[in-house]
Symmetry: none
Subunit: 407 residues, 2 copies
Amino acid sequence: MQDRKFLLFIMDGVGDRPIPELNNKTPLEAAKTPTMDKLAELGITGHMHTIGRGITPGSDTAHLALFGYNPYEVYTGRGPFEAAGTDLPVKPGDIAFRTNMATIKDGVVIDRRAGRISQGTREIEEALQNITIEDVETIFKVGIDHRAALVLRGPGLTSDVTGNDPKIENKKPKHIIGTSSEAEKTARILNQYIKQASEIMEPLEINQKRINNDKLPANYLLVRGAGKSPHLESFSTKYGLTAECVAGGGLYKGVASICGMKINDNHYGTGGIPTDISSKVKAAIESLERVQFVFLHVKGTDNMGHDNKPIQKMEFIDEIDIAIEPFFDLLPETLICITGDHSTPCVMRDHSSDPLPILIVGEGVRPDHVNEFGERSTMRGGLGHIIGQDIIPTMLGLAGRVHKFGA
Amino acid sequence: MQDRKFLLFIMDGVGDRPIPELNNKTPLEAAKTPTMDKLAELGITGHMHTIGRGITPGSDTAHLALFGYNPYEVYTGRGPFEAAGTDLPVKPGDIAFRTNMATIKDGVVIDRRAGRISQGTREIEEALQNITIEDVETIFKVGIDHRAALVLRGPGLTSDVTGNDPKIENKKPKHIIGTSSEAEKTARILNQYIKQASEIMEPLEINQKRINNDKLPANYLLVRGAGKSPHLESFSTKYGLTAECVAGGGLYKGVASICGMKINDNHYGTGGIPTDISSKVKAAIESLERVQFVFLHVKGTDNMGHDNKPIQKMEFIDEIDIAIEPFFDLLPETLICITGDHSTPCVMRDHSSDPLPILIVGEGVRPDHVNEFGERSTMRGGLGHIIGQDIIPTMLGLAGRVHKFGA
């Protein structure tokens, strides 16, 4: 029984509310989901409050809770997770910033996105490597278009610093200041780094070419969203399980990565729509051959909620249901949990605190009487109302992997 | 309403999982339980997580939780409960040890159980009374066969000491040492006590007889499992209820005793199988005439789970159901709760974190729609998912014995 495997499948923002144009069903209830319905029939179901009742989770805090961490204890801001999601190797204690490459002229920010620069940014990334200021190491990594991540690593740093982004164009960048008594060093180093980086960026070949082509050069960095990378007990230490993550969106990979999961990018998922769900399912099954725990994430359901597109949300769930048919081949040895990270009701166009349907299926589960996977059917499921942090302990308990407390 | 009585009936390890040879029913679901089913119909049911979701309880921590104590706050190890279960009057702050009577020869332990001595050990118990070392009182009490309990009582003692049991025969006993800076005194006293006890035991008449009959003498004590008796608020102070315990197993009597319950041993229960459940039920009913709260414990269901004997587990539940028919005579004045301390699924051969069915019946209860007492039927019960610590407060609330919080 100790060799059981675990699959946590998250449909981002899947939970919703009754929608008149879907005959007052939710997108999940209205979708054609023979696979999920059968898994609900074989398994035990319930309602899941990711962080707690009446709490609307962010994407980062939601996934921390799903992985069994208390977000109130460990969450320090989105920056470190975003940085980790760009493959930047964030370590506990690092200070991470979301960063824009921008255009400065005569001390004034004339474009916060350097003319939405999209090509050739690797040259900038390479030019900004190995900059050390005092005893602080800096790591800079470009993302998509003008976006990048910056990490400061060294003793005595804090995230209590302002950013330098003026937020509107044709203004001077702000001087970065510390907001606590220990933050003077971090602010000093950051101001100096930005000055030094600008001097390095200005003469780069890419910028000379851009100027020659009447494009704005990327000669300045705007930083914001300072966050200290949290000191998390690693997932493998916490549970004694090796783990991999299959996701498209950077944030989800970032949370998984900071928890110590390896990232399996061997798929064609995009972190949006359109995407290739089947290739992700295939990757997750490959991961399960290597490791004990796999986190599989699909994002599109959330996007359709934010955009108030209930029919497209329903159709995307139809697609998911077909793509996850191979889950049946994993049963009963693998314990599979299907749920979401939060509800994103179309009518809200945003996350909500509505609980989500959840199912757990696999050997050892006591099946309840629910044979349909939807918001209303699972209200009477055998798991009752469960919080996100209890999901993995519940699955481990089913597999006999929980230590006895007492004797 | 203030004269209402309370009966908590625990079937140890009763919870289980679907078992193929029982037609995918659990032993409780497959058993013939007209009494429990009727009580479920008259009462309110649900699922009970003894300590919390995804936590596998030990027997000691489980019963602390069922009695309303937070085991994370009060649990200090099994030793004191075992000692208290042998009628040894353990007090808060006492250091208790599980003890073997052994045979030593030329400084070497040649039998860790003194030839499994079974008769005449009272002579040893009597000979070892009233030994005081420095300012520390010692209390020694024999149990079944070679087993005994030792308690040290006095100022400045700690449980941070090793034992002297070499674990294998034909080795010297280990020298006891302290594992913290405050433990030097406890180790010194314990080493001296063991030396002194051996000198007293050696010449006893029982040992001379054993030697004459080619049996090994019980001339040495091996101690292990040091535990400091916890400072618990007594059950009667906590709830304002007089309380008695009817149980066979020493550990259960020990936990009840340390909580301040009186032990009613006026029955033929054995703490195992075979046992006389009816005589325990009779004793519990007699206890209810004397006191307000009675804890009734039956052990065999757990044994059959540990031994992976689902049919015997089912048949034992059949017997329990017949034996508890007199519960009907207690209704409605007595509030009766039936549940277990943890699941012991046959397939696991050990405790698990699976929740247990629970029912509460008696005057004031709002009956739900469940009319069968089993793992699946109670999933939809009116109590929902309840933790062990909330059981007694729920029963007290039904009886109007809970103080108003606020005005």
